[in-house]
Amino acid sequence: MLFTNIPGNRLRAGRALRRRDELLRDILADFRRTFPELLFELDQASPTVNAQAIVRIDRRVVRIYGGLAYHAHVGVDGLIFTLLHETGHHLSSGGRLALREDLACECAADCWALTEGAARLKEETGRTFVIGEAIRSLDQLTQPCGGGTKADAKLCWSMNWSRRKRALAGPESARSVRRCHLPEFFASEVNYI
């Protein structure tokens, strides 16, 4: 949130913007109904192309930022997958982030989004999404980031966008780890003075 941001291609005005407003209102209403234990927030004014799962003392929150919510290349499937992924950080019982054990790690959040999360959303609201479409739209955002390094990718498929795309397209072959040690790995590279 402080650092690098992906350049956004934001819907500015007109019918497309009005339709996106309505779409976001409907999607967020469905998520609030399906997962009432979480708080879903849209930061319309933010230019940040991202979404986030956070814990505010006693409240679990999913925030989607304006740069992503109003991105011209992100359609309904991309938005639903994004929100399910963030919800998965809170509700997945799978692998934990080593340094933040109250949140599920990236691969566990992805697996939960595609299985339990998608099923609960469909059962409660009838809303579904096409993962192929979600990948296609997010693909256009993730390319500028470049993804993780080769070393990161060896540790977990979620660290490399190419591998992550394949895993999302065929989730049955994607294993979720029990405890994600990636943060410890990165932190260990720091040199003390």
């Binding site: 003392i57 992924h85 470049g146 660290m159 943060p183």
Partner: protein
């Protein structure tokens, strides 16, 4: 903090993970021991200088983003004094109260905020920053927008009374291969049975 993009890691995630590691487990124990000799978070110490000394900054390369120097600019110029003061207060308490298991850091962008501040505000009593179990401080920073590209070098001039921090040394463990343990276990019963056969 879990975020969808960038895939894998970003400077935000790196600095948050680094801080979370430093203020938990063995690193927290090290800082607590050091705190008995040098009060790292008193008024005479600058947060930026302490961050530099303990390695609380991003070290990876991010194309187009001078993350390390931006982080030090943020600590020096953009973090308000009230937030500085409250963070130091929280960290000082964490240095002395052993019932605190860890300090967990996170950051949230909120365009409604006018300036960076802690959640819910910078003027709460310390217990308000504890988790529900009361054993972990949650330092949740709210920032109004991503940082500008302004950056500066970390402060290299020492604070008063600085002393070097004695970090725990790395211990290398001898790897145990899959076959090794089983072979030994298999040999033992054979010896026992041999002894038994002698007795009878």
């Amino acid at each position: 903090m879990g975020a969808l993009l960038p895939v894998g890691s970003g400077p935000d995630k790196e600095i948050v993970d680094r801080l979370n590691q430093l203020f938990s487990g063995t690193d927290l124990a090290t800082l607590r021991r050091h705190h008995q000799r040098e009060k790292l978070f008193n008024d005479r110490h600058r947060l930026g200088r302490v961050a530099f000394r303990i390695g609380a900054y991003p070290v990876q390369d991010y194309p187009g983003d001078d993350a390390k120097r931006k982080w030090f600019y943020f600590l020096h110029h953009e973090l308000p004094q009230a937030t500085h003061k409250k963070i130091k207060e929280i960290l000082t308490d964490a240095m002395t109260r052993t019932s605190i298991r860890a300090v967990k850091f996170s950051v949230e962008e909120n365009s409604v905020a006018n300036h960076p501040h802690l959640f819910p505000s910078d003027i709460e009593d310390l217990p308000k920053y504890l988790n529900l179990a009361g054993n972990t401080y949650l330092v949740h920073l709210v920032v109004p927008a991503p940082m500008s590209d302004q950056a500066e070098d970390p402060p290299t001039d020492p604070d008063p009374d600085e002393q070097s921090i004695a970090w725990a040394k790395l211990k290398l463990k001898r790897p145990v291969f899959r076959g090794q343990g089983k072979k030994k276990a298999a040999k033992k019963p054979a010896r026992k049975s041999a002894k038994k056969s002698k007795r009878y």
